[in-house]
Amino acid sequence: MFGTAIIVFREVLEASLIVGIIAAATRNVPGSRRWLVAGLLSGLFGAGMIAVFTEFIGELASGLGQEILNASVLGIAVLMLGWHNIWMSSHGAALAANARSVGVEIRDGRRACSVLFMIVGIAVLREGSETVLFLYGIAASESGGQASMMLGGLIGMSTGAATGYLIYAGLLRVSLRWFFVATSTLVLMLAAGMASQAAHFLIQADLLPGLATPLWDSSAALPQNGLPGMLLHSLIGYDARPAGMQLVFFGAALLVITLGMKWAASPQQVAKQS
């Protein structure tokens, strides 16, 4: 039961942290809550579909369909998170100032909401499909102990969701002055971490050279299956044995999104918006 709880927790944690951070970052965007729920539900549906079609997906691209799907989904998520951060750095201040007034930048807000929908949907879809498969495997196996394993699954799921809620509640307590810095830094790190993971899948599929494999090995000091390692993996894509190419992707995403945010926050761009 304990083992099951940990496996499910690990899968749910990543999606839940992303949803928590994004929910906090968009709390003042009109209509964001509805889009968030819609994203969650579509993600769950998508996860079920991926689980059902695992065999089909796995056989695509001569057995490398899974890696290509994962890398593409992660690539889209990086673009969405990057766009979100750049959008927020020009609109965030305005939204916070008019937090109570309805109809602030509704049109732009709607665009931000569809991005929010995509990010949440993708996060749930990616992490959810493995959980569905795992729980299906338990349910289908003939050995006993399903009830206790299912209970473990539920415990893992609720602990993972609770962690996401904790980061959400924690972010809401951050003073307004630091709120945008805090959320945009977290989103930036999420995006860079995902870029590194996308590179990891492309290396695993042999579509990208690894450069140095591994570049370092910190598994003794900070194992990836320990709780701190797991959290860092979800937040910044921490890898105890990364390939050099993963770091290249991490750095590139970090640089491009930071430059985009600086550009969007520049006085001329902000003046154009208002």
Binding site: T54, A140, Q204, L211, T213
Partner: protein
């Protein structure tokens, strides 16, 4: 595809590594062979065949690899090039029985 070829050309050492073929079977939530020996310093192309009806996730922190294999399905996994040593792997969905070691010489 063109870009990938270009990238590969830029790193001749990565492109030079010769692929080797190895097969790993999963049956009754166990790997066979449970110990697989492969050469060091080479990129390894590993075929994993799952003969169980339930899905399994090949998982190895040591190898930094993770991949779901559908029930009665198979998958290709690229590993390495690796240094000599032994690397543990397992089936995340059935950790109690699905355990194995990759010996790199």
């Amino acid at each position: 595809m063109k870009n990938i070829l270009l990238i590969t050309l830029l790193f001749p050492f990565a492109a030079l590594a010769v692929d080797a073929d190895y097969t790993l079977m999963i049956k009754d939530h166990r790997f066979s062979p449970s110990e697989l020996t492969v050469p060091s310093g080479k990129k390894i192309k590993l075929l994993i065949v799952n003969q169980d009806s339930t899905p399994e996730e090949f998982d190895s922190h040591a190898l930094n690899r993770e991949k779901v294999i559908a029930g009665n399905g198979s998958a290709i996994l690229y590993i390495g090039p690796l240094n000599s040593g032994s690397y543990k792997f397992g089936g995340e969905f059935h950790e109690a029985t699905a355990q194995g070691t990759l010996i790199v010489r």
